[in-house]
């Protein structure tokens, strides 16, 4: 039996006050990814079988590097938001859920930062 009033239970268990933020970020990154991915796939397809030099020249162009960094940030942010929802839906044990979500977020940050560093290094340092 609980002595808490219904309003108290709602305050304790209700909105975490960032659901809209999560939803909105998921949609904004989705909208950003549509043109970025079309550009990326077209670029990659046009470089099939290209030499290291031509790939390097493509990556080293400021426009390519800027778009790629934007793509990486949007993609990893979108991916970790999505996987978070999947975990929240299917993992019911609170501790496992929390640990999995933290692991996914850390992995997304590390991989995303690695990709950005790789792009910037290729763009800045000569081949």
């Amino acid at each position: 039996m609980t002595l808490r009033a219904p309003i108290g239970r709602v305050r304790g268990l209700g909105s975490a006050k960032n659901g809209v933020g999560h939803y909105w970020a998921q949609r904004l990154t989705a909208v950003a990814l549509v043109p970025l991915l079309i550009w990326f796939v077209l670029s990659v397809v046009s470089h099939v079988g290209a030499s290291y030099e031509s790939i390097h020249a493509w990556l080293a162009s400021p426009c390519t590097a800027a778009l790629l960094v934007a793509l990486i940030i949007a993609a990893f942010h979108h991916a970790q938001l999505g996987v978070q929802v999947v975990i929240e839906d299917y993992v019911s044990t609170e501790s496992t859920k929390l640990v999995s979500i933290i692991a996914v977020k850390f992995a997304a940050v590390i991989l995303g930062v690695f990709c950005v560093v790789a792009v910037l290094r290729t763009a800045v340092v000569g081949g």
């Binding site: 991915l37 099939v48 079988g49 990893f76 991916a79 999505g82 690695f114 990709c115």
Partner: protein
């Protein structure tokens, strides 16, 4: 004792999921697959940053039969998630919720996924 005909929840091993339900869970599955597929992107960008030797190795790995199979799955998942994601964005602005419209957009997504995948690989393999 009178038995009441209550609605039953779908028994997933017997119940034949309608197209819309299959497409919904496929959106999630391709999303998770793409999140894992970022490893391929990180590998490729990292190889380009490490230099010509690393890039040659990565190109050989990705160009191997298993690499190409992974890349093919990556393209299918990407195109499906991209097209179906646009469908979700249209739903998010409150359009296309009627059942016939949802089926029509669903079929459009499936056709677009196949066409885009075939065209991408036809161009990629012919270069």
């Amino acid at each position: 004792m009178t038995s009441r005909t209550r609605p039953l929840s779908p028994h997933l091993q017997i119940y034949r999921l309608p197209l819309l339900a299959i497409m919904s869970i496929t959106h999630r599955a391709t999303g998770v697959a793409l999140a894992l597929g970022t490893l391929l992107l990180a590998y490729w960008l990292g190889a380009a940053a490490y230099g010509p030797k690393a890039y040659a190795t990565a190109a050989a790995v990705i160009g191997s039969p298993i690499g190409l199979l992974l890349l093919f799955g990556w393209t299918v998942a990407l195109y499906y998630h991209l097209c179906n994601g646009i469908r979700h964005l249209v739903w998010d602005i409150g359009r296309g919720f009627e059942i016939p419209a949802a089926y029509a957009s669903g079929r459009l997504v499936l056709v677009a996924t196949v066409v885009l995948t075939v065209v991408t690989w036809a161009i990629g393999l012919s270069i």
